[in-house]
């Protein structure tokens, strides 16, 4: 029998559940640009389509300061407080 010490952080992965899906898109939708090239192009198109198809909703645009780092806490809090939905745009 060989005994070794665990080289990992020993966390048991916690399964994440998906938040409940509403029937319809209403209220505020956040569009988050992660600041990669052309991410804004994708979001511009998406915003135009949403305004066309869902004229009643409010759209808020956000951008991460840099794609290389996770979004700052304040930004995440702001998005959560002011919006009902969020679309995060990747790019490349």
């Amino acid at each position: 029998m060989t005994t070794i010490l665990d080289p990992t952080d020993e966390r048991v992965p916690i399964a994440r559940s998906v938040s409940p899906r509403p029937e319809a898109v209403t209220g505020s939708v956040a569009l988050l640009d992660i600041s990669k090239p052309r991410g804004n192009v994708l979001l511009d198109r998406l915003e135009a389509r949403l305004r066309e198809e869902l004229p009643g909703i409010e759209i808020n645009r956000y951008a991460k300061p840099t794609f290389t780092k996770p979004a700052p806490t304040e930004l995440r809090q702001d998005i959560r407080e002011r919006n009902d939905f969020v679309v995060e745009a990747l790019a490349d």
């Binding site: 029998m1 060989t2 952080d9 840099t66 290389t68």
Partner: protein, 519 residues
Amino acid sequence: MPELLPPFSLRDQHGVDRAFPPAAKSVLCFAKEDCPTCNLVMPLIEALHRDTTLDVLVPGQTSDGNATLIDRHDLTAPVLDDSALKVSFAYDVDTVPLVIAADADGSEADRLVGFDKGEWRAFFERHAPNLAVDWDALPDWRPGCGSLTQDPVIGERLRAEAENSPLRARRIEIAPADDVHEFLFDQGFTDGLPVVPPTPERVLRMLGGTRRDPQEVVATIPPNLAPATVEKVAVNAVLAGCRPEHLPVVIAALEAVCTDEFNIHGVMATTMGASPVMIVNGPIRHRLGMNMRLGVLGQGDRANSAIGRALRLTVRNVGGARPGGTERSTLGNPMKYTMCFPEWEERSEWPPLHVERGFAPEDSVVTVYAMTSGPSLIVDQNSRNASQLAGSFGLVMEGAHHPRAHHMGDCILVVCPEHVDTLKVDGYSKDDVRTRIQEVTAKRLRDLVADEVSGTGLDPQRAQAMSDEQLDRMAPKFASQDNIHIVVAGSEAGKFSGLFHGWASGPMGSMPVSRKIED
């Protein structure tokens, strides 16, 4: 109130379990067969057992040795099998024979180490006054022998197994039917190459390389934001093949990469495939015997290879940055296994990297960089003066990332000794080299506009909106000459320097970070 001796139960030569304390006055004699002094005193111990009411117990340190002792001295005293050395360890036996007289409650009354006739005689007068011993036949003094528990390898195993062991990491038992190496691969603990199994003994030995508390948290590693204790770093250093003296470099490097400036999360996650590159400066290079000469950026040197690998494995295993998870390199690169090397400070008259970065020459320092590729070779066997050679550096460096990618961030230029000599002829400083690189790479903005040859470059629409004067402005390759980090390394023969290309530099990406290496 006297301190009680550790209770125990061991089996004697007749298969009987003998417990201590035995509810009567007793004498313990820790012994091992190959110790001449133990053999010298065995008849005295046997006499105590045979001719007094004392409960005599002889914990012997090897099974075979116990049998020999019994035969050699016709022992009827219970000789106990302490071949696991647990009791010897619990009693912190340093030297055998160790004789302890205990009261019935198990508290210590008296102690003898080795053989000093005067002390033994007094001990016998106190505990067995009626026993006739021919003291004249015995020598005045004989030293004892080292207890087996003091053997370095055995001692480490015992310390690792003891209840007060400094090890807290989860223990994983690998069944005898499993191949240890296959198990380590299956668990995802490796970088794809075999690792050294991190047994408790090895980890304990590794921890001997630092004065820091094993449970001290060195850093919090993303993406799991997991606390990396000194112990966890040591476990991964064992996996990587480090020696204990390498550990302080790994710890300092981990501290450096887990800063907001270095941004290890982005470095690991980027599709560009960045990886930490570690450069070691100061006296520790010599202490660890690091290779700074022939083949410095290649394989073959244990310290260079294992230290770099330990950092990567710690980030992978503790932080959770794994390819396919948060590590998303399009191509990756071999530096993702390891990239650590020292600067050959003595081979040039230039201030070494750590001194340029504000440390004292006698400090040992590790500096980490996020690099996406390298080393790519700069071949110049013909330039005979400094401005030509530094010009060559610039021409090759122009191609880093993309020839039109100007205003670039950090890069590392590794200057080989023959090139150092050429630069020295004209008295070039590191800054002179940097200035020359910026000079020869400077391009007019109008020459950097994206076109039909390549869609990368200055946006043509933006260029159109610029004045002629603006378009004639010169843009050097690097945003600042401070982005060119120069070190000396390599063998005496060959005019080949090397270049590492950086990643996104500055506060929006990754910045080089230096940390002093502390024991």
